[in-house]
Symmetry: C2
Subunit: 273 residues, 2 copies
């Protein structure tokens, strides 16, 4: 889809390093146009060391309304926010920030909600399920919180890094009554399997879980966008599982980001800092 630009165009940027692969400039700009907004999302390639200066400078642009954040800036951009959702405070990370009426910056983290939204779009429902999450990094943490918020009956978390795995489990235990436990790569007995690791991006990667224990009643979701269908998801589909891929997550997340930037879905009412 093509877009237009003129002197009155409102700006949104996406900050990342690298940046060329990001889909928000095309997707969000098209979504703004579809909504009849004279607005664009443009890419900004900025190194971690330069991020604070970039954000300080960009904030001086009176027609900059929003900032989308991708790797590796999600934690650093949280520090730029003057207010944020409880979810973002819990995660210490944001993937989107919008300018508030008083000139501040209000942050949110939609990665987890995007994953759950992508699942639901493919016929998965976390509520009441026994869930296994592989990966306790930035994406994994966001997904863990979202799965708990969505009402999973139980959440097991596996990560090769036991320190960050245990830290995440401990932090979740402080905010939810949902049982959160140490998981393993074995999906046997779980109803929902979520991969939040990069395992599957390269042909030589090991599989994140023991796919030989997949059963057709399981829902299998994955964050990987390249390849579009990871080997884990391919294996799940082969035996009849419902699945969601990184593209499903992104599609759901883009809708959430659009509503957030246009001011429709989140309020600053519950925000604190």
């Amino acid at each position: 889809m093509t877009v237009t630009v003129d002197g009155a165009t409102r700006l949104h940027i996406i900050v990342g390093d690298p940046i060329a692969q990001v889909k928000s400039p095309t997707g969000m700009s098209a979504a703004f146009a579809t909504r009849g907004r004279n607005a664009l999302c443009v890419p900004i390639h900025v190194a971690p060391k330069d991020l604070p200066g970039l954000l300080a400078g960009a904030s001086l642009a009176q027609n900059l309304d929003g900032i989308i954040v991708t790797v590796p800036h999600k934690f650093a951009c949280y520090a730029h926010c003057t207010s944020a959702t409880e979810r973002a405070h819990f995660l210490g990370a944001v993937n989107i920030i919008r300018r508030t009426a008083d000139g501040g910056w209000f942050g949110e983290m939609f990665d987890g909600l995007g994953f759950v939204g992508g699942m639901r779009a493919k016929g998965g429902e976390p509520k009441g399920k026994r869930a296994l999450l592989v990966g306790a990094g930035g994406a994994g943490s966001a997904i863990a919180l979202a799965l708990v918020e969505a009402g999973v009956r139980e959440l097991a978390i596996h990560d090769a890094d036991s320190v960050r795995r245990d830290a995440l489990i401990k932090r979740l235990a402080a905010v939810t009554a949902t049982p959160v436990s140490i998981g393993s790569p074995d999906p046997a007995g779980f109803e929902l399997i979520a991969n939040a690791t990069p395992a599957g991006m390269r042909p030589t990667d090991p599989l994140p879980v023991r796919i030989e224990h997949f059963t057709p009643d399981m829902f299998v979701g994955c964050v990987i966008t390249a390849p579009a269908v990871s080997p884990m998801v391919e294996a799940a589909r082969a035996i009849g599982c419902k699945t969601s891929v990184g593209g499903d997550m992104y599609a759901a997340e883009q809708q959430l980001m659009l509503e957030f930037l246009l001011g429709g879905s989140s309020t600053e009412a519950g925000a604190r800092r």
Copy 2:
């Protein structure tokens, strides 16, 4: 014309205050697309007090290649340049800056060349002519230098502010052998009349020159873009003069800016700071 944007899009910004009226985002973005470049020009609304911070931050964006400058930032942006053309040094102002291979910022001022280019597009040629310029401000100074560079036989400058008029005359005398003198609003005896003041933007404005002394052999040029044809130019056309308007200047200037940003017309070889 519509344009596209994706993660690999190279950015150019135009800084101004106000900004909504500027034409470069549409015009330059379309020109980039026509040249097959994945590049955009987007507007940045920034107040004078915030300009240094904006420029410092924006410079950290690795995919920012160029900065177009409009009022009131042309003098302040000169200070941001690490190198500039002799023309920009003389004027102490730039209307465009591009990033150099070593990460610096190389500035140029095309307002005067744009005016001359607009004249030529409408059949005017400054070389050998007696020229009267009204207005010794930023645009007027740039046009004065360009007229001298283009080979006018003589240049007379009128400005209600005699201090800046005399300062410009003195500075021009230091760089050219062309006779430069104090002018008046009376165009009698001149072959080329250039208005570089805003007189004519509002219906109540006085005319910048005594139009009753226009003769059909005169070329009459004007920098005003709104209205598209100023009352002075209307009067000149009514008696058969060749004329150029602000839109002609902008069209010529856009072509110069495009070549500059794409690296085709200016070299840093002669630059100094």
